[in-house]
Amino acid sequence: MKHVKTLNKTNLKKTAAKGGCSECQTSCQSACKTSCTVANQKCEK
């Protein structure tokens, strides 16, 4: 495309079907303890 550059083509919605295993890290167990950001965790699959 000439006018638009898409940085990622993964579709979040598609991750829902097989998601929710809960094996990934709890946000507050990493470095925060005070200000939650869930999206900066890694998927374990």
Partner: protein
């Protein structure tokens, strides 16, 4: 639904529900306002009229690109996540914050743990209580394999023998239960010595080292009981600790307050000291306190996040790197949608246990009336409260329903909402403003680095 913003010369359009991020030229960025999920194949006349500084050919070409994105499900993706509401239910407990010491050898002014004792007297956790907490986790973790235990305080190194014993105990049960314990520790560093460092490096998957940055900033609030700052003691210890870990899996973690809105300088100071895994976070405190951050500070803090983001880009391009915790974002391999919908999961999948064995939804709820969920002595937990916390997600927080950042912060910190906005479902305005700004910066960094890859 989209969120569009311009930052550092990049026109960014986030497709909220697919998570796709688009960087657009000026025409695309303006034309996107004339698009929608059910946009016609032909560009509407009003767009030609409004954007008449561009040629018809250019507009048609750009419109076609946007049309294609919509058809691919990467723009104006409808929100039909309600179908997953049923998955927001009470779940096995798989993460535990173990308050190994409600005592501390520092008296940091901003400490949410009331300078170490959570307002309930100084106390260390006994091995027996800790062991029961580990058993509680094993018994309540269902089919979850990875179990996280963070040794927390107060200052956990004040009770490190018990930490060692509990690690040994948990490891001894792993095989039988088919579990994998991941230990972490959060420490102010004062008591770090060779033995403790070696133990942590052998057993802990992550270590969080508390330091606020520049000496004068750190020593203004991170002080010993006699009022002396701790910077000179902890810096050499943290350097040694990180060296022994080969620089892997750690964070130096600090807090900024209204007194150092120029926290960019603190991040860079930590980098200059040799640390590259850095988390500097906004203070959590009563808005009446002089150093508390309020909505009025959001703009100034936002400027500082922007400054930091630009510096990180510059460094990356020069082959250097800072991993700033709140700018971490993997646009392709981040957590699944269900994780993002569930939120921080405190009080449901994650709990805290005090030295007395009391169970709370998380470390920040400890000592707050009405939030004690049970005690590990009998292992019973208030399932009604657990169910209530399972509902603390973006479906049930009114202010999240239409927020563009909802799949990133996932509803934010329930403890902040409870303490400073009157309930776990309520909006803590300043937290939202800062989180949104951090995310805009994090996405912009991706755009800038992608530009370089071309």
């Amino acid at each position: 639904m989209i969120h569009k913003y311009s930052l550092n010369g990049f026109n960014i359009v986030l497709d909220i529900c697919s998570g796709a991020v688009h960087v657009m030229d000026e025409l695309g960025y303006e034309l996107v306002d004339y698009t929608s999920a059910d946009m016609p194949e032909k560009c509407p006349d009003e767009a030609y009229n409004a954007l008449n500084k561009f040629s018809k050919e250019e507009i048609d070409e750009t419109y076609s690109e946007l049309y294609e994105l919509v058809k691919e499900g990467l723009l104006h993706t409808p929100d039909d996540y309600d179908q997953f509401k049923g998955k927001m239910a009470p779940a096995p407990i798989k993460a535990m914050c173990l308050h190994i010491a409600h005592d501390c050898n520092l008296r940091c002014d901003y400490c949410f743990a009331a300078k170490g004792d959570f307002g309930h007297g100084r106390k260390l956790m006994s091995y027996e209580v800790g062991k029961k907490a580990i058993d509680f986790l094993l018994d309540n973790s269902g089919s979850r394999t990875n179990l996280e235990v963070d040794f927390f305080g107060g200052e956990p190194l004040m009770n490190f023998d018990v930490v060692k014993q509990l690690v040994a105990y948990a490891r001894s049960r792993e095989k039988e239960y088919n579990k994998n314990f991941r230990f972490t520790v959060t420490t102010n560093g004062l008591l770090l010595d060779d033995d403790i460092m070696d133990f942590i490096n052998k057993e802990m998957s992550n270590v969080v080292l508390s330091i606020d940055g520049r000496k004068e900033i750190n020593d203004a609030l991170r002080v010993s009981p006699n009022g002396k700052g701790c910077y000179d003691i902890i810096v050499p210890k943290f350097k040694e600790m990180v060296k022994r870990r080969n620089g892997e899996q750690y964070y130096v973690r600090g807090t900024f307050t209204r007194k150092n809105p120029d926290f960019y300088e603190d991040v860079m100071h930590l980098y200059d000291l040799g640390f590259d895994q850095i988390s500097i976070e906004p203070v959590v405190s009563d808005p009446q306190i002089s150093y508390s951050l309020t909505e009025e500070d959001a703009e100034r803090v936002g400027q500082e996040y922007e400054k930091l983001a630009k510096k990180i880009i510059e460094m990356k391009k020069a082959g250097e790197s800072i991993n700033f915790f709140h700018f971490m974002l993997d646009l392709d391999q981040g957590p699944c949608a269900i994780k993002r919908l569930r939120g921080c999961s405190c009080g449901n999948e994650y709990v805290s246990v005090t030295p007395e064995g009391d169970i709370y939804p998380c470390h920040q709820f400890v000592g707050i009336d009405g939030f004690k969920m049970g005690n590990i002595d009998d292992g019973k937990i208030d399932n009604e409260l657990k169910a209530e916390f399972s509902k603390a997600n973006i479906f049930n927080k009114e202010h999240c329903r239409d927020c563009w950042a909802r799949f990133y912060c996932s509803g934010g910190c329930n403890a902040n909402s409870q303490q400073y906005a009157g309930g776990i479902f309520n909006k803590h305005e300043v937290s939202c403003l800062l989180e949104q700004k951090r995310l805009e910066c994090a996405i912009m960094i991706k755009a800038a680095l992608a530009e370089d890859e071309e």
